[in-house]
């Protein structure tokens, strides 16, 4: 338990110390919020769908969580290059504890980043359905964070060089984000696109957040939570397995 805690604490401390990184990582979601939120707003309204900002705010929060959690995979490569990973791997503790500590640390950081963006959307004019909805939505946000931190751990354990991570960002993270229904409604999509959105775990995450925050879920919040839990279990097991196979 102590081991998990100290490795979790390490991730959080490092995050809180790197202010530049905090600011930089908020840039992309803010750009989406400002440019698309206000730029596409009039079109969305004309189509009779109401406020686009209300619709996409949960999507941008989901995006922040996805990106931050996946970047915790980079932290692993960083540790591999700078050697700290070796220090943890020769310690007399089960590797699964190390993996859980790291993953929870990455997930915590992702939730904090999500909370910051949530605050920004409030300033921009986003209004959740009720005050009670917010903590429930954040439980779902925490689930999203764990799902993708575990995925990042699995990937970070499997690739050895920074170049590999660039591939992951381009061919995994960006599609996960664009196919998640964060930017467009899931109703009436072409069959192929609809199929892709349904295999993207982030779709259910954002749908769940949207369901709790503005009461407009496509699949239903309980279904979303079940899917996230299932995918989370699979990814955590995959992450622990890949992590146990690391050779230093």
């Amino acid at each position: 338990m102590n081991v998990i805690y100290i490795l979790w604490l390490r991730e959080v401390k490092k995050y809180l110390r790197s202010r530049a990184q905090i600011v930089a990582s908020l840039g992309t979601p803010l750009m989406y919020l400002a440019v698309l939120g206000f730029g596409l707003g009039p079109v969305f309204r004309k189509a009779g769908q109401g406020s686009y900002l209300q619709f996409m705010a949960p999507g941008v929060i989901g995006m922040t969580v996805l990106f931050t959690a996946m970047f915790s995979g980079i932290a692993m490569l960083w540790d591999r290059q700078f050697g700290f990973l070796k220090e943890t791997l020769v310690a007399p503790v089960p590797r699964v504890q190390i993996m859980i500590g790291r993953t929870l640390g990455g997930a915590t950081v992702a939730v904090i980043q999500g909370a910051i963006i949530f605050a920004v959307t409030l300033i921009a004019g986003f209004r959740p359905a009720s005050v009670v909805a917010v903590p429930i939505a954040f439980l779902i946000i925490a689930l999203i964070a764990v799902v993708f931190s575990a995925l990042a751990t699995a990937i970070g354990s499997s690739i050895k060089e920074m170049q590999g991570f660039q591939m992951v960002m381009n061919f995994l993270v960006m599609p996960l984000w664009f196919l998640s229904g964060a930017l467009y409604p899931l109703e009436g999509l072409p069959a192929v696109l609809a199929a892709f959105t349904r295999v993207d775990p982030l779709t259910y995450g954002i749908d769940g957040v949207r369901g709790t925050m503005i009461g407009a879920a496509h699949f239903g919040v309980s279904f979303d939570v079940v899917v996230l839990l299932g995918v989370g279990v699979v990814f955590v097991i995959a992450g622990a397995w890949r992590f146990s196979k690391i050779e230093v």
């Binding site: 390490r10 540790d79 070796k86």
Partner: protein, 327 residues
Amino acid sequence: MVAVAQLVRAPDCGSGGCGFNPRQPPLFKLQVAQTAKLQGRVAQTAKLQAAPSPTCSREDNLSENHIIRVQHLVRSFGTLIAVNDVSFDVHKGETFAFLGPNGAGKTTTIKMLTTVLRPTSGTLELDGLDPVVQPTQVRTRFGVVFQDPSLDSELTAWENVDIHGVLYHVPRRVRHERGETLLKLFELWDRRNDLVKTFSGGMRRRLEIARGLLHTPKVLFLDEPTQGLDPQSRNQMWTIVKNLNATEGVTVFLTTHYMDEADRVADRIAIIDHGKIVATGSSAELKQQTGTESLEAAFLKLTGTSIRDEEFSAQDRMRQISRVWRR
């Protein structure tokens, strides 16, 4: 400090006593049992009783007080045989040096003893335990400073030490007391709350060694610990390590290719080349054996004068990248 040391140390199984090793042939198991029974008696009796084994040198059979025993160790990577049938003992409390040119198999041997790498064949024993069979127990018994740095440079010196203490299950109070003692000893106490990225190479090395000693290990592995350090840092580092070696009785196992270093700090030296041990003994013995006057001359006589070209592996490339990143 000695009291603290005893407090932290895990219950001692005795060398060979509880290290039941299913990978060893039955004959050897019998020998180990016998040896364990005899431990309380006078050393001389034990020497007489120990059955001569054709696999060990005469000297190895006499060493009842070994903490590390390596027998017929082989490790190959594809077609390359990095370690080729290596056998040696390290005695309790001594400073033992692996001296060899680049690519001789020094690091590979350390990696196998520290549970990072599995041997292709052969047997290993550290404090009576087999690193392959009982990696977790073995890990509590050694501290290691790898060739590449393994500190978290975004954390402070103290945080690095503290995390290590938690990972090695050192109780909080002991962690703090011994951490303070060690950081003071290595002259890092004043800088304990500074981020490691602000440290010089020598300070980082000292911090790594201090951290490696926090859990009061029985063996301290130092893989080329002074590479890239200036003479002052090297001198200071060895003074402290030799001092701990004398006061705490920690066995020091180092690799190096600096002759003067091996000559000065090591009680015994094993010269390794092309994955094989070519000679073992004290510096004086090696000089005598080869009829040379300096250890360097002895070394060159034993290993030849040809230049070794290491193959540039993916790991070396990573190492280079990380050096660039570290500025």
